[in-house]
C-alpha cells in the first residue's frame, strides 16, 4: 500500500489545520497574542493531562518487588520481603522508597501492570528506548517520530506537548510544531547562551530590542516574518509571566523535584494548553550494587511524585492528571555483582485522580519465575506497553490508533480498565 499522502488525506489535514497553519490562522500578524495559547474548545475529557516519567537505564523489577520464594531465590541481595517493602497484595508490593505512591494506591488511584513489554524483545538501551518512544517495533525511529509528538499534533496548539528532559525521540516529529523541549522555565525552551553572568538575558533583551526597532517592513512577507518574531517575544514574555506562579507545595530541590515543579507550573498555567509532559530520571542501569542505587533513585522519584500529587490535589487538578512510568526494559535476575542486567518485561505504574487502582495484570507466579531463564522475556508478557498508553489516550478523548498505528501481537490482556 502506498504511503504517499493522497489528496483526500491532505485535505483532511488541511481542514484540521496542520499545527503551523492552525497557529498562523489563529494568530494573524495583528491578532491577539493570547488567542492561540488557549486550546480549541474540547470536551472535558481532553483537559486530562498526561505525564510520562521515563526511568532511564532499564528499571529493575524491584520497583514493584515480588514476594514469591522463587523470585527471592533468584534475587538474593536485591529483592524485598513484605516486611521491608510496601505490600500491595500478598504477592507483591512497592519498593520501600515509594511511600507516597503507596498512599495513592491506598486511595485507590494507583494501578500496577505486571509483565509489560512488546514482541521480540530488544535489550539495547538505545533501540529498546526508541521502541518505547516511537511505539513501533520495526520502523526506523527517524521515520516513525515519537508517539507523544503524534499525540501532541492531534491536540494541537503551540505547547500541547512539552519535554522537560531534552529533545527526546518521544517528542520528535516533522508533522507539527506542538512539542517543545524545555530545559529551564527561565529560558523557556530557549537554549541558553553562556559565557557571561547573564549572557542569556542580555542576548534575549538585545534581540527583543533589535526586532522592535527594525525598519518598518515593506512587503507582506516581511510584515509576516517581523510580526512572527514580535509575537513570539510577546508570547514568551506572557508564558514566563503565566508560569511565574507560587505553588502551594514545596518541591524537593533534587533534579527530578525541579522538573516536577516545572511540570506543575506548566499545568497550573492552564491557558498555555499543555496536555502532555515528558520527564526523565536516569540512573536505573543497575548492573551492580542495585539495592542501594535503586533505593537512592527511587527516593528521588518518590519525593518528586509525592510533592507533585500533593500540588495537583491542592490546585484541584488531581482528577485531570494521569502519570505513567516507563523504562526501556526491566532487568534480569541477579548477576554476580549484586546487580542486574538488561531484561525485558517490566512493571508499569499508572497513577492519577481518575485511575481505577489495583494490580491490573497478575504478579508473575512462582512456576513462571522458575521457568524464566534469566529474565521475563517477551513470550511472557501480559500486555503490550502501547495498550497501556492507548487506554490513557482514550481517556483523554483522543484517537489512540492514530498515535499507535502499528498493530501488535495479541497478549493475554488487551484492556485492563485502568480508568474504570
Amino acid at each position: 500500500m502506498s504511503l504517499g499522502m493522497k489528496r483526500r488525506d491532505f485535505l483532511k489535514v488541511l481542514s484540521a489545520g496542520t499545527c503551523g497553519a492552525a497557529l498562523h490562522n489563529v494568530l494573524s500578524p495583528h491578532g491577539s497574542v493570547m488567542a492561540w495559547a488557549a486550546p480549541p474548545t474540547m470536551p472535558l475529557a481532553s483537559n486530562t493531562i498526561l505525564v510520562v516519567l521515563n526511568l532511564l537505564g532499564g528499571c529493575s523489577y524491584n520497583i514493584a518487588p515480588i514476594y514469591h520464594g522463587a523470585y527471592r531465590a533468584k534475587m538474593p541481595t536485591t529483592s524485598f520481603d513484605p516486611g521491608t517493602s510496601l505490600p500491595l497484595t500478598s504477592e507483591q508490593g512497592l519498593h520501600p522508597s515509594l511511600v507516597g505512591l503507596k498512599s495513592v494506591y491506598n486511595e485507590g488511584h494507583l494501578a500496577l501492570m505486571n509483565l509489560v513489554g512488546y514482541p521480540n524483545e530488544n535489550r539495547s538501551h538505545a533501540e529498546s528506548g526508541d521502541i518505547w518512544a516511537t511505539g513501533y517495533r520495526n520502523l526506523n525511529p527517524a521515520i516513525a517520530g515519537g508517539w507523544l509528538a503524534r499525540l501532541s499534533c492531534q491536540i494541537g496548539g503551540y505547547m500541547a506537548g512539552v519535554s522537560l528532559s531534552g529533545n527526546n525521540q518521544i517528542i520528535q516529529t516533522n508533522s507539527c510544531s506542538s512539542t517543545k523541549s524545555i530545559s529551564d522555565l527561565n529560558n523557556f525552551g530557549e537554549t541558553s547562551f553562556g559565557g557571561e553572568s547573564y549572557g542569556s538575558k542580555w542576548l534575549r533583551d538585545t534581540r527583543a530590542a533589535l526586532i522592535a526597532t527594525s525598519d518598518t517592513p515593506r512587503t507582506e512577507n516581511e510584515i509576516y516574518v517581523t510580526s512572527s518574531m514580535m509575537n513570539l517575544e510577546s508570547v514568551l514574555t506572557q508564558i514566563q509571566q503565566q508560569t511565574n506562579i507560587t505553588l502551594p507545595v514545596t518541591f524537593p530541590g533534587t533534579g527530578l523535584g525541579n522538573k516536577f515543579r516545572d511540570a506543575a507550573k506548566l499545568i497550573a498555567a492552564n491557558a498555555l494548553g499543555v496536555r502532555l509532559i515528558y520527564v526523565e530520571k536516569g540512573g536505573f542501569d543497575t548492573h551492580s550494587g542495585e539495592r542501594q542505587s535503586l533505593t537512592n533513585n527511587l527516593n528521588e522519584v518518590n519525593g518528586a511524585i509525592t510533592a507533585f500529587v500533593a500540588c495537583m490535589k491542592a490546585l484541584n487538578l488531581w482528577d485531570r492528571i494521569i502519570l505513567i512510568t516507563t523504562s526501556e526494559f526491566s532487568r534480569t535476575f541477579e548477576n554476580g555483582s549484586q546487580g542486574t542486567d538488561h531484561g525485558h518485561a517490566a512493571a508499569m505504574i499508572v497513577l492519577g485522580g481518575s485511575v481505577n487502582g489495583g494490580v491490573k495484570t497478575p504478579t508473575p507466579t512462582g512456576p513462571q519465575i522458575s521457568a524464566a531463564n534469566q529474565y521475563f522475556g517477551s513470550s511472557m508478557i501480559h500486555i503490550d506497553f502501547r495498550q497501556v498508553f492507548k487506554e490513557a489516550i482514550v481517556e483523554m478523548g483522543y484517537d489512540a490508533t492514530a498515535v499507535f498505528p502499528e498493530t501488535f501481537a495479541n497478549t493475554q490482556f488487551t484492556d485492563v480498565n485502568i480508568f474504570g
Binding site: 516533522n174 547573564y198 512587503t219
Partner: protein
Amino acid sequence: MQKYIINVCLSTCLVILSGDVALAAKKKPKPLGQPIQESQLFSTTIKIKNGKKQTEKAIKCFGTVAGQTKNHQTKGLLFLAYGKIAKKSVGAKKKQYENLAKLGKKSCVSPSFASLDEYKGTFGLKEARTLYNRFAFGGTTQQINLAVAEGLNKTVERLTNYIEEPGIDAAEKDLQCDGYFAPHPQNRTCNALNKNDLAMDGVIIGSHYRMLKSANPFFEKVFFWIHDERLSTSTNALGSWEYYAIKEYISSVRNLARGGSYKQYMRDMMYDELMHLKYLDGESNSGYSPNENFAREFLELGTTGPKNRLGNPVYSNQDVAYAALVFTGWNMDCENGQCNASFNFNNHYAGTKIIFDDTPYRAVITNPNPNSPIGAFGEMELLLDAVFNHPRTAEHLAEDIWKEFINSHPTEGGIKELAELIRDSNYELLKVLRIVMKSRAMFDQGSKLDLIKHPIDLVIGFLRTTGLPVHYREISNILNSLGQRLLRPDTVFGWDEKILADEARVLDWRNKLLPLIQQNDDDFEEAGYDLHARFLDDYPGTQVLIQRVADQLNVELNQVQLNRLIEYMDYVMELCTWGHQTQCAAGQSYLGQGVYFLKRNQYDPHIDSGNWKNKLKGLIALIAMLPDYRMK
C-alpha cells in the same frame, strides 16, 4: 480584486508620512514607526508616447507593493508630481500632465515594465548578496567580493556552469549506503549487486551534505526548488525492496536542474517509480479501477495548474479521469526481494481519451497499438504534448519561478513575458533562469527582501556563509526540527516557507542556531575553523565588526539597531547585589529598573583578551535571528 487590494492595504499598510506634510490628503496619515524612505518605495516605469517617439520614464509609486496607490503621499514623487503640476497648469500642458498622472496611477496598480530586460544598474555588494541568497544559499565574503569584481554577467555564467565534483559524488554515494563516513563503525561498503542496498536516512543525509559542500550551489538550490515546488515526493512511499527508485528520482531532478528540459522532466515523472507508481498510487491505477491521484497532480502541480490568471478552471474532472486512464497499466513487479516497474497492457484502458474538450487546446488521444506497451507509451506522449501545448503550462511554471526567485507579486506582464521566454527556450530551465538572474525584475526595489527563506535556505545558507563547522549528520537533525527534511515532505505540495517561518519555528531556529554558534574550541579546532582569523584578524573596532558580520549575513542595520549592538558588545549585565551597590545607587541600572546594571566591559578583539569569543558569537547569533535574515 480592487477591494482585496484596499483590504490588504488597510490591514497591512505601515506607510507613514516622511518629510513635510502630504499633498492633497484630507485625512491626516497615522505615523507608524520610522518614515519610509523614497528608496523603499515600489517602482515601475511608464511608457510615454510623444508623437512617434516612445520613451520610458521611471516613477516611484507611493505604496510599497504593487497596487498600493491610495493612502499617503510623499512630496517629490514623480508620479504625484504630475498630478500636482497638472493642477497648476493650463491648456495642453494640463491635459498632458493629467494623462501622465493617470498613466502613472494605473502603472502603480499593475506595473507592466519590461521585467526580464537585462539589468544594467549597479551590481554592488547588496546586489551580489541578493543573487547569492536566492540562487546559491548565500555567499562568503570572498565569493561576494569576487562577484562584484566580475560583474553580473560573469557571475551568472560562473554560477550556472556545472563543475564536475567526483569527490562530492563519492561522498554522497558513501552516505547513501549507510549514512556514515568511515571510520564510523556503522560505515560499510554497499553491495553493488543489490540496487536496493541503500539507507533512506543516508540518502537524505547525503543530499544535505551535498548542498552544504558542493561547489555548484546554484544547481543544488534549483534541485531543491524543483523537488519542493513541482510535484514533491517522499521516500516514505518506498519499501526496502524499492529503495533504488529514490536514486532514479534524484537523477531526474538533477538532470532538469543541470540543463534539462522541463518537458523531459515531466516525461521522466510519468515513468518514475517513486513519484508516479509509489507515492501517487500509479501501481493501483488500472483500467478496471482507475486511480486519479497521479493524473490530478500531474495537471495541478506539474503542468497547467488548476486555474488560469483570471481564476477560471483550466481542466475538468473529466480531463483528470481521462488522464488517469492514459496512465493505467503500470505496477511494481517484485520477486525475491527485488522490484521493478512493469507495464501490463491488460490493465491498461486503450480506448480513446479526450483532453481539454471544448477548448481550443482539445486533444484526442488514441492508441493504434492497444495490445502492446508501445501503444500506451504513445498515449502518454500525446498527453504530454497536449498539456505542453496548453499555454497555462508555461504560465504556471513562470508563476512558480517568479515567486521563488523574483518576488511574491508577479505582474500580469511579467508572467506573460516569462512564459513566452519559457516556450521560446523549449522549456530549458537553465536558459530561463540565467535570464531571470540578470533581469531588472530581480533587482527592482520592489523585489528587495521580498521572499521568505526556506529552512534549507536558512540553515545551509548560514553554514555556507559563516563556514561554521557542523557534523554531517547534524544538518538533517537541524532541518528536521525546522520542519523541512529533503525528500520527506508531508505532502505532494512540498513545503510552505511562510508556515515554516511562524512563531513556533522562529523559536526552533533560535534553539538550533545557538548550539551551532556555541560549539567549543575543541570542535572548532578539530574542524580547522579559526573564528578569530575569520573576523578579527585586523583587530576591528566594535562598529566595524558589527558591520562586517551584518554585511556577511546580508542584513542591513539601521542606526538604532547599530547603537544597540554596540551597547551589547561593549557591556555585560550584572546583578546590582554583586558588590556594585554604589553604582546601582547612582542610578546606573539598565532600563532604570534597579535590578540589573551595565558594567563597562568593552569588547577587545585581541586574541588573548578572553572576551571577544563570546561577544562575537553573540553578535553573529543576534544578527542571524533578525527578521531581515529570514528574508532574501
